[in-house]
C-alpha cells in the first residue's frame, strides 16, 4: 500500500480511461460466444449429439466462462492499480506490471521539469484520454501513464501543485 504522511492528503487520482477496459470486455465477450456458436454449428450440420451432450457442453462452457471471468479481474486489477496519486506533497506513481510486479515511485513537485500530453486518434480525442509524460529533475527517468483519463484536468491539478511548491513550471507541451 502507498504509505502517506500523517498530514498528506490525496487530492486527485489519475487513472487509465475506461475505454481500455471496455476493449478488453468486448474482446472477452467475443471469445465467450465461440463455444455456443461451435455447439450450434455442430448441431445444425447434422452431427449426432446425445441428450447428455448438453450437460457436457454446459459443464465445459461454465468453466470456459469462469476462466474468462478470472482473466477479466486480472486485467481489471492491472488497470485499476495503475494510478498516479496526486497528494498535497508529492506525486506517487504506482505502476502495476502484471499481477506479480509493481513499481512505486514518488517525487516532490519541485522536481517536475515538464509535463507532456499526447492524444492521438479520433476516439482518444472524443473520449478525452491520452498519455501523460512527466520529466523529473535529477535523473533522466520519465514517468508515463498511458491512456490516462482526463489528461488536461490531471495536468492542471499537477501544475497547480507544482506552482504552489516552486512558483512556475518550466515547460508544458501539448501534442495532438
Amino acid at each position: 500500500m502507498v504509505a502517506l504522511d500523517i498530514d498528506e492528503k490525496i487530492i486527485y487520482e489519475v487513472r487509465k480511461h475506461w475505454f481500455g477496459i471496455a476493449v478488453i470486455i468486448a474482446g472477452l465477450a467475443v471469445i465467450a460466444l465461440i463455444p455456443p456458436i461451435f455447439f450450434v454449428v455442430i448441431q445444425t450440420t447434422g452431427t449426432v449429439m446425445l441428450v447428455d451432450g448438453w450437460l457436457l457442453f454446459l459443464f465445459v462452457y461454465s468453466l470456459w466462462l469462469l476462466v474468462l471471468w478470472v482473466f477479466f479481474f486480472l486485467e481489471w486489477t492491472d488497470y485499476y492499480f495503475d494510478v498516479w496519486h496526486v497528494t498535497n506533497k508529492r506525486l506517487v506513481d504506482v505502476e502495476q506490471k502484471g499481477i506479480f510486479s509493481r513499481e512505486i515511485t514518488s517525487f516532490y513537485y519541485d522536481r517536475i521539469q515538464d509535463i507532456t500530453i499526447e492524444i492521438h486518434g479520433i476516439i482518444p480525442t472524443l473520449l478525452e484520454f491520452g498519455d501523460i509524460h512527466i520529466q523529473t529533475a535529477g535523473e533522466s527517468r520519465e514517468i508515463i501513464l498511458k491512456g490516462a483519463s482526463r489528461p488536461y484536468m490531471a495536468k492542471e491539478i499537477i501544475m497547480k501543485e507544482v506552482e504552489k511548491k516552486s512558483g512556475t513550471i518550466q515547460r508544458v507541451q501539448v501534442v495532438e
Binding site: 441428450v51 447428455d52 450437460l55 457436457l56 461454465s62 469462469l66 471471468w69 486489477t77 492499480f81
Partner: protein, 75 residues
C-alpha cells in the same frame, strides 16, 4: 468416431479431475487477487464491492459446472 462423439464419451472421472484442477488454479489466483486488493487498494468500499461481484460470479459459474457434471455422471 467424430470429435464430438469422442468428447461425449469422456469418462466422468476425467471431467471431475479436470474440475478439481480448475478449482485448485481458481483458488490460487483468487488468493493472489485478494492479497493485491487488500494490500494495495486504497478505496476499501470499492474493493469490497469488486470482491463480492468476483465471488458471486465465480460461485454461480462453478455451481453450474458442478450441477451439470453431477447430472452428466448420473445420466
Amino acid at each position: 468416431m467424430s470429435i464430438v462423439q469422442a468428447l461425449i464419451s469422456i469418462s466422468p472421472l476425467y471431467l471431475w479431475t479436470g474440475l478439481f484442477i480448475v478449482l485448485v488454479v481458481f483458488v490460487c489466483i483468487s488468493a493472489i487477487l485478494m492479497y493485491h486488493w487488500k494490500k494495495y487498494g486504497l478505496r476499501r468500499q470499492k474493493i469490497k464491492v469488486v470482491q463480492r461481484i468476483y465471488f458471486v460470479g465465480s460461485i454461480i459459474l462453478l455451481s453450474i459446472a458442478i450441477i451439470a457434471l453431477s447430472f452428466y455422471t448420473l445420466w
